[in-house]
């Protein structure tokens, strides 16, 4: 067993874990934050995307202990005080989900795209940037629309506050 501690959704957490524990297992099994999903185990599908120190990573392909001391944000940490993050709202507004399994990873990736590419995203950029997230219900068209709307909303004064 090895001791690991980090900040998850603003809260300090720590546990003694098997050294081979993946970050996604730590989140799902130790912290019971089951919003982050595992779809492929091989960093292809993107259902497990979370933010580590402000950058999107696939949590199925990094060890929990590699993220010692990190600041981790999961889908559960996005909404605050009952107010949805603008990207979450955009997914709801645009019917950008069906079974919902890929959705947490999609939303976390989408926010990361805005962080890296700005809020004025064209369709081509969004499609290219979502390469690492798979939706098997094949709802990409609405996902692309949602990401564009969410990006614009994040730039608006109220959206920027929620996106912090």
């Amino acid at each position: 067993m090895i001791h690991v501690s980090m900040k998850v959704n603003g809260k300090a957490v720590s546990a003694d874990v098997d050294p081979r524990t993946l970050l996604v297992q730590f989140l799902r099994e130790n912290l019971r934050l089951t919003g982050t999903h595992v779809g492929c185990d091989t960093s292809q599908c993107g259902a497990c995307v979370v933010h580590v120190d402000g950058r999107a990573i696939k949590s199925c392909t990094t060890l929990a202990v590699s993220n010692e001391g990190a600041d981790v944000l999961t889908i559960e940490g996005l909404a605050s005080g009952g107010i949805l993050h603008p990207m979450q709202q955009a997914f709801q507004d645009n019917h950008a989900l069906q079974c919902g399994y890929c959705t947490p990873g999609m939303i976390m990736s989408a926010i990361d795209i805005v962080h890296r590419k700005g809020s004025n995203l064209n369709e081509h950029t969004i499609r290219e940037e979502l390469e690492g997230n798979i939706c098997r219900c094949t709802g990409y068209h609405n996902i692309v629309k949602a990401v564009a709307q969410g990006a614009r909303a994040m730039a608006a004064p109220s959206g920027a506050k929620a996106a912090e």
Partner: protein
């Protein structure tokens, strides 16, 4: 119509939990003290199991138990079943090879379940599995469906000589042969419809639990039809009778057919929970999904189309070899037969059709219903034939289709179905206009000038979906009914719960079904909950597949709403002191015709519960 009724653009009720990470998928469920299962799978397509040595593995850290096919047999756990009986053309029943949940004596495909290791953690179960030594006697494998029935091919099941499950046929051979005898042109095609893997985003998972105090089991599972899972686990596999078995399918992350079936893993997890006295959890890795989720399609077909001099289709002859894999999965036998043959007329008036299907075993993963299940396979055959026939005879593929469309209805095809209505030419016209079909030549030339290729493809599709209760379903071999259950509960304050046997795995039933209630009762969808996926809550159901939940599931809800409305009207007669015939229900209000006397639905609900106005009646 209410503001949130059918046709209104509403936001999905289920989305909030999914966009906030609060969904409840099977792998999100954890039970106190649970152990984890890992399945040892065959690395060989075909082999005898000579010996399984578990002694070292049993000593591995965290390992609780290891079970093999012998343990399953000893406990008299029944095998997995195929619930649709197909008879061969000679009248003999299909040859169903035994399908034990853990292999007994022999493995028949790569991924076949050899043993299960149960341990305190998943990692320990997996580590323990590495210490299990299985001595296999590798046998030659039958992998090619086209060669499986030929003499000399390795035999998958002793009960099925020549690897043949059945030789099925549909249609009239004599009249079809006659049509070909008189044909001016015959188009012949060999078509392969390749096998594929369904790959829902959410891998299959199961948590089995046994309550010794109640002598009752609970299974959480990734299922499109939890009631059918309970029925099969109770009546055929025999783990527990239905009243001692609760099956819960919580949020399901896509299915595409693959989560209809009752598999080895959930069976073993449930059975093992009692053996080890702990909840047992199993979640597939993606590799396991590739190996052992039921696959789709896998047809090898020779098809022929007969034309007269004017380009009218006069006959269709199809011979398909359908690969069902190493074992018959739950509904596999129906897919290349009754979900396939009856669709072979497509949108065309074809006077004579004859279809033969030879279903074969091979040493490959089982094949069952996947997206459309049989029907897309039929369309592929028909549309490829029509396209090639048009080209061979120098006709425009669009006009060739149009000339052969069914134009008068009702139309009885030679393959079971009667079409009641349709306007295929109108759909074609619309498609051609949208695609600027007339301008294709020009665009093709423009592309060619730039050194590029441009093509055009057409397909006309007819679907049979919304499988519903009928004498026909029974007569063609279905082991289950195809009805759907619905229960509408009105609470004292007028909010409504709909209990349905349909089960969403992404279709949005919680919204669509609530819209139906909203529409009928004039209450907002926020006041409606849809309850599904739990055999203890919902009386029974057939589940969701084949585009049936809207057509059949909602029809059942609509019937239940008729009863609610009739009962509410009766209550209104007492409350409003009016004759039943004088009361009309409109926009959520019961009104005495021609007066301003009215009462809303919620108030009627409360009156129904307090029963002050009509006690004893």
């Amino acid at each position: 119509m209410s503001a949130t009724g059918i046709g209104a653009s509403v936001k999905r009720k289920e989305d909030h939990r999914f966009i906030t990470g609060k969904g409840h998928y099977t792998d999100d469920i954890n039970r106190p003290g649970q152990a984890y299962a890992y399945f040892i799978r065959s690395p060989h397509a075909h082999a005898t199991i000579n010996k399984i040595d578990v002694s070292a593995a049993l000593k591995a850290p965290g390992v609780v138990a290891i079970y093999t096919g012998d343990d399953i047999a000893q406990d008299k756990v029944g095998g997995l079943i195929c619930g649709w009986m197909i008879h061969s053309k000679d009248g003999s029943p299909m040859k169903a090879g035994a399908h034990p949940a853990l292999a007994q004596g022999k493995v028949r495909y790569v991924g076949d379940h050899v043993a299960v290791v149960i341990a305190d953690t998943y990692a320990e179960a997996k580590d323990g599995a590495e210490k299990v030594v299985v001595d296999y006697g590798v046998l030659p494998a039958a992998a090619d469906p086209a060669g499986a029935a030929k003499s000399g091919a390795p035999q998958v099941h002793d009960v099925a000589p020549n690897n043949t499950v059945y030789n099925w046929h549909l249609g009239d051979k004599a009249s079809t042969d006659a049509a070909f005898g008189a044909a001016k042109h015959v188009t012949r095609l060999d078509i392969v419809n390749n096998r594929l893997i369904p790959n829902a985003m959410e891998p299959r998972a199961a948590v089995g639990e046994y309550d010794s105090g109640m002598d009752a089991f609970t299974l959480y599972t990734t299922s499109q039809n939890p009631h059918v899972a309970r029925l099969v686990l109770a009546a055929f596999i025999g783990i527990a009778p239905e009243h001692k078995l609760r099956v819960i399918a919580p949020d399901v992350g896509g299915g595409f057919g693959s989560k209809i079936f009752i598999y080895a893993e959930e069976t073993v997890s449930l059975w093992a929970a009692k053996k080890v006295g702990r909840a047992v959890k199993w979640t597939a890795e993606r590799t396991e999904a590739f190996l052992s989720d039921a696959h789709g399609r896998d047809h090898v077909t020779h098809a022929e189309l007969a034309l007269d001099a004017s380009g009218k289709i006069t006959g269709l002859r199809v011979h398909t070899i359908a690969n069902l894999g190493a074992y018959l999965s739950t509904f596999s036998s129906a897919v290349p037969t009754y979900l396939y043959g009856p669709l072979l007329s497509g949108q065309y008036a074809i006077p004579a059709i004859y279809c033969e299907v030879d279903a074969v075993y091979t040493n490959t993963a089982p094949v069952d219903a996947y997206r459309g299940a049989g029907r897309p396979e039929a369309t592929f055959v028909v549309e490829r034939l029509v396209e090639v026939a048009a080209r061979e005879t120098g006709r425009d593929p669009a006009e060739f289709r149009r000339a052969n469309f069914v134009t008068s209805f009702p139309h009885q095809t030679p393959v079971v179905f009667a079409y009641d209505a349709g306007d295929y030419a109108a759909s074609l016209d619309k498609a051609l206009a949208l695609a600027d079909y007339k301008g294709v030549g020009q665009r093709k030339a423009a592309s060619a000038a730039k050194g590029k290729l441009r093509g055009v493809g057409l397909s006309a599709y007819i679907e049979a979906c919304g499988l519903a209760p009928s004498a026909v379903v029974g007569s063609i071999g279905a082991g289950v009914g195809q009805w759907e259950s619905a229960e509408v509960r009105v609470n004292p304050t007028g909010s409504v719960e709909v209990l349905t046997g349909s089960h969403s795995h992404g279709q949005g039933h919680e919204t669509t079904f609530a819209q139906l209630v909203s529409d009928r009762l004039g209450i907002p969808i926020e006041n409606v909950s849809v309850v599904h996926g739990d055999t203890d809550k919902v009386q029974f159901g057939m589940g969701t597949y084949g585009s049936r939940s809207g057509a059949v599931g909602m029809a059942a809800i609509s019937k239940a709403l008729d009863k609610i409305e009739a009962k509410a009207k009766k209550v209104a007669t007492y409350v409003l002191e009016a004759a039943e015939g004088d009361i009309e229900f409109k926009d959520g209000k019961f009104i005495v015709k021609g007066t301003d006397k009215a009462i809303d639905f919620g108030s009627i609900a409360l009156q129904a519960y307090v029963a002050h106005k009509f006690n004893g009646q």
